[in-house]
């Protein structure tokens, strides 16, 4: 089921029957005189994996930062747990695209993950075990004592993801996390994040400029256009899980979604 742009703009509710844990309501952002985002509105249901896709400059990164509480919108608000988001909270975890700059180079992999636990005020005693568990989930146990600059791009991004998970977030915000990686690493991380988030029952808002990645990963895809950023389409992705790099991408429904979104995005370039 898709919503027409007008209906999507008005509705802050998620199209499922569960109440959203997070929503944007008429969010508008300006940098100086330049409008970046215009009346963005949609919701995110619990355990939902929502992908935000759009061309460069459509403000999706800005929108994510509004969600994280790092930027305040000029109009409208982001609503989390029924309250407006005014500042960051540990329950909203953000994963940045430039992983090498978002990790502390002087701390080991374990140390970087532990940073989130320190920030949360988790008691000293349980920290090591928690770090170990998270590194195990993300497949970095063997590299716990290494420093970020000794790791490949894909591994560094996994460290960031592990750190985000260490926050025990209710909502995970990911800003084009695989954009700087090569195709093969990207694909393996896509599968891993999909598996991980379903296993941990994590709610995710995932920003990407890659259409196919959005369809592949998402339960729902929100398409934005640029100048200024606006929601043009929201599509429920009715593809079977778990998804597979080969078969899912050849699924006729996948191709249909791709067609539909492609036109929207191309028109607005």
């Amino acid at each position: 089921m898709t919503l027409s742009p007008d209906a999507a703009l008005g509705a802050a509710a998620a199209p499922r029957d569960r109440a959203p844990i997070f929503s944007f309501r008429d969010v508008s952002v300006r940098f100086g005189a330049t409008p970046i985002l215009d009346k963005i509105g949609f919701g995110v249901a619990p355990e939902e994996f929502v992908c935000l896709v759009g061309p460069s400059g459509c403000g999706k990164t800005t929108l994510l930062r509004v969600a994280a509480g790092l930027i305040r919108p000029q109009a409208g608000e982001a609503i989390f747990d029924g309250r407006a988001v005014e500042r960051p909270t540990p329950e909203l975890a953000i994963v940045f695209q430039d992983y090498s700059r978002a990790l502390l180079p002087w701390r080991t992999v374990a140390g970087n993950v532990e940073l989130a636990l320190e920030a949360r005020g988790a008691p000293r005693a349980g920290r090591a075990a928690e770090v170990e568990r998270l590194l195990g989930i993300i497949g970095l146990s063997a590299h716990a004592a290494k420093f970020p600059l000794q790791l490949s791009g894909g591994m560094q991004q996994r460290v960031q993801i592990a750190r985000a998970l260490a926050q025990r977030p209710r909502l995970m915000l990911m800003d084009e996390p695989f954009g700087s990686l090569d195709a093969m690493t990207r694909q393996s991380l896509q599968d891993e994040i999909a598996r991980l988030c379903k296993a941990e029952r994590q709610t995710v808002v995932f920003v990407t400029h890659d259409l196919e990645e959005a369809i592949y990963l998402g339960d729902r895809v929100v398409a934005l256009r640029a100048n200024p950023g606006r929601v043009v389409e929201i599509i429920d992705i009715a593809l079977p899980r778990p998804r597979d790099q080969l078969t899912t991408r050849e699924h006729p429904q996948f191709l249909e979604y791709r067609h539909r979104l492609f036109h929207h995005l191309r028109d607005r370039l």
Binding site: A68, L70, R87, P88, F96, L104, P105, W106, A119
Partner: protein, 255 residues
Amino acid sequence: MSKTAWRLASFAFAALLLALWQFLADRGLVSRVFFPAPSRAFDVLGEWFASGEVWGPLAGTVWRTLAGWLAATVLGVVLGAAIASAAVTRDLFEPTVEFLRPMPSSAMIPPAILLLGLTDGMVVAVVVFGSIWPILLGAIHGFRSVEPRLIELSRALCLGRVHRLWRISLPNALPEIFAGMRVSLAIALIITVVAEMLSSRPGLGQMILLAARAFRSAEIFAGVFMLGALGYLGNLLLERVEAHFLRWRPAVGGT
């Protein structure tokens, strides 16, 4: 030739130069007064260590240098963090820092003598004043240059101000602080020596000045040798400490 082979060759070359000096001195081809044979200087060193008379002055020079330099480090880092923290403080203090930087720190010795007399405190105070600048400048620069993404991260993680300073700004500034510390150590040693000369505090500086006044050149060279050794060892130790704290850095293309 391998690296170790070259190392040995360079030591051999230095030894050769030393031997040449010895040769020239023995033959009387250089003035024995000004350039005593190295053997005589080593004899003096031997006497000093045998009689134990060198330990006092050595300890004096070492502790004064260390005390001043460590105090300068702490002060420099704290002030640097404070100055770097806001544009206002930067605009207020950076011009003064820039003005005072080229100032010869030994020029503070006469006022320090006036204020504090010929005491150890005077020496340490001047060492602090002289050696703080490289650390202060390094700290200011290091604290200012934190990766913006990490600032965003600290906001996203809701790290308090103090936590952010301690966990992010300080480790980020460490490389530049260490660079400043290395320069400062060399400066601290020089100022200690000069202050000792002027204040007649028991130390290596005073020892070699007295030796000069008495025309005991072998003693001068023995003392200079010890000071050189101190400088060398201090730098070596600091480099090791730095290498440990900065071991996370990727290896830069070596020579």
